[in-house]
Amino acid sequence: MTILSFFYLLRQYGIKVTTKEWLDLYKLLAIGEIKNLDDLYFKGKKVLVKSEKLYDIYDKAYLDFVTAGGDLNERLEEILSFMEEGLKSNESIFFEKLGIDEILNRLTERLLNQKDRHSGGGRHIGQKGYSPFGNAGAKRDGVRIGGDSHHNAAFMVATQRKFKNLREDVFLDARNIGIALKKLRNFQNVGREEEVDIDATITKTAENFGEIEIVFTKERKNNVKLLLLIDNGGSMEIHQDRVEKLFSIAKGLNYFKEFKHYYFHNCLYDFVYEDMENERKIPTERLFKDFNAEWKVILIGDALMSPYELHNSWQMIYRYEKKGKTGIEWLRLLKNYFRSSVWLNPISYIQWQHQTVMAIGKIFPMFPLTVSGIEEAIKQLLKQ
């Protein structure tokens, strides 16, 4: 277990620490800011983790790191003494002269050598059975590194996992959704050059010593048109809060060139509705006339229904007549007509194994209704 494995562990957990940031940590080691595991936890967090949303993951990675085995304080001592040696022998030019890469190389080399040397002895620090996701049954109760009080504070803090609620995958607040939706943009200069750019005109004129030169410019606007289709069928009721949140934010942003929304019941059939009460109905056909293929479509629904509801038409379900398009046909039609569309699903990922969810997931790229899910969905919309 070397300190370098902390670096890889963090990256494995999804905290994309760069070499440059990692070297900041080494600099802290070199100037004596990191003397024990507490320092490593607290100060490492400041230079390696750049979003509070990742704090919880950092806590988890740190816990894994310190409980994975081996005497870490000893290892840390070794690193510190190495740093000290380097500083003593080369004094102030240590960093400048060697260059950061060289320091990293030497450090890695030294740590690797040390590992070999130790392998024969009684203090073997292997990676045997070590897995960051801990299914190998290795007991990580923190006792193994015990006997030293240094790391206790960090250990306590990390175990509390105070920042759990800030994690991206569980945190769905208005501001975050707003930020996510704002990424759905495609700025374009629209129209002819007919807007006077006052600043540029003044500058040009002044540069010409008073010869007036008027500068025209085009207006820059977000060119994205967004169509939201929302399932308000019975099973969606429990997700209503979240769906409403997303909807009101999308509407309130006033960010898209055009924004329209309709409701559907359970699955897309012959009609969509303008209101939640399903009173003002509009033939689904009209969507293909009123909106061109440029519109970006987000469907929100749990996609949970009986297979019968997906593979039969509205008439068959409600009027027992054998006519009309089936739900899945309407969905395919929609998918093929619009250039980019995605499906946001509010149910938890585990439930996606359901037959109709999988069937619909084959038609539309499906994402969970979480902030990171929305972000992914938007990336997809911009790609298509």
């Binding site: 994309k16 760069t18 440059k20 940031e21 900041d24 600099k27 802290l28 070199a30 100037i31 004596g32 800011e33 607290f42 100060k43 400041k46 230079v47 983790v49 750049k50 979003s51 509070e52 704090y55 500083l87 004094e91 102030s92 240590f94 960093f95 105070k162 920042f163 208005a174 501001r175 930020i179 704002k182 003044i202 500058t203 004129t205 002044a206 540069e207 010593f209 008073g210």
Partner: protein, 277 residues
């Protein structure tokens, strides 16, 4: 050691910083990297920079960011209009362009004779691209003025403090170059201390009940704007002035709700589901 002799921040008399925050400041001083402070409004982000400048006796510059702020505003502005005006009315000799170059806050911090503290306040207010436009200047700590063929280089790398309310995410490339500190919302115990600093003679029962109720209200996710420290302090002030009986405090009987909740929808919500006031 090369980093020896670097100033160390310990907090100042009028600003109580948490040990963790002090640590962050010292790390950024040692690494000579900008410090990004993120947190809810009312957690004292802006005060920090002032406190650093004061306690370490460093010159202090504030660059307040607005939605229209461009990266170049921090560097310089060539006042062509003034030059035109002078040319027309023969007020001044206009051949020296230098006199029409007005420096921005970033440039002033670069040019300071002593190492300065520069506060870039509320960076998230600006356009999403804004932080990226500053990358080069913050890395090199220098910039070029084509009009006068001059390069302005920092005499000492200023200590840059950047605050953000997280209205927009900051770009990764930008964050990689910074030390990051997140100020979590004060918990019960810390909040108790904060209130006691403001109201040293507050009745213990009133303080404890008010805080319990405050955190109870903050837990209601449906609120559009959760009350923060400043609202709490206002509310406690009103409670104290009206000599409110701390025993009577409960969410069902919420006195002066308008001081805590600033949005009408939130008041309506509390009224509907919790309180009868």
């Amino acid at each position: 050691m090369i980093f020896e002799g670097k100033p160390k921040f310990k907090g100042s008399s009028d600003y109580v910083a948490s040990p963790e925050l002090i640590e962050s400041v010292n790390i950024s001083l040692a690494l000579e990297k900008p410090l990004v402070i993120k947190g809810e409004p009312g957690t004292g982000k802006t005060m920090l920079a002032q406190s650093i400048a004061k306690s370490l006796d460093m010159p202090f510059f504030v660059w307040n960011i607005k939605s229209t702020t461009k990266a170049k505003d921090g560097l310089y502005f060539y006042d062509t209009v003034q030059r035109l005006n002078d040319a027309r009315f023969h007020d001044r000799d206009i051949s020296n362009i230098k006199q029409y170059i007005k420096f921005g806050k970033l440039a002033l911090a670069f040019m300071s004779e002593k190492r300065a503290v520069l506060l870039i306040d509320e960076i998230d207010k600006a356009d999403i691209e804004f932080p990226n436009d500053l990358l080069n200047e913050l890395d090199e700590m220098s910039f070029y003025i084509p009009e006068t063929n001059e390069t302005i280089k920092a005499k000492h790398r200023p200590q840059v403090i950047i605050t953000s309310n997280s209205e927009k995410d900051l770009p990764d490339a930008f964050l990689r170059r910074c030390v990051f500190h997140y100020i979590a919302f004060p918990d019960y115990e810390i909040m108790k201390e904060i209130v006691e600093v403001h109201f040293p003679d507050i009745h213990k029962e009133l303080l404890e009940n008010a805080l319990t109720l405050f955190y109870q209200i903050r837990k209601i996710d449906e609120l559009k704007k959760k009350p923060s420290t400043s609202e709490l302090l206002d509310w406690i002030r009103v409670l104290m002035i009206s000599a409110y009986d701390g025993k009577k405090l409960s969410i069902k009987n919420l006195p002066f709700p308008g001081t805590l909740l600033k949005k009408e929808q939130d008041l309506d919500y509390i009224k509907k589901y919790y309180a009868h006031f």
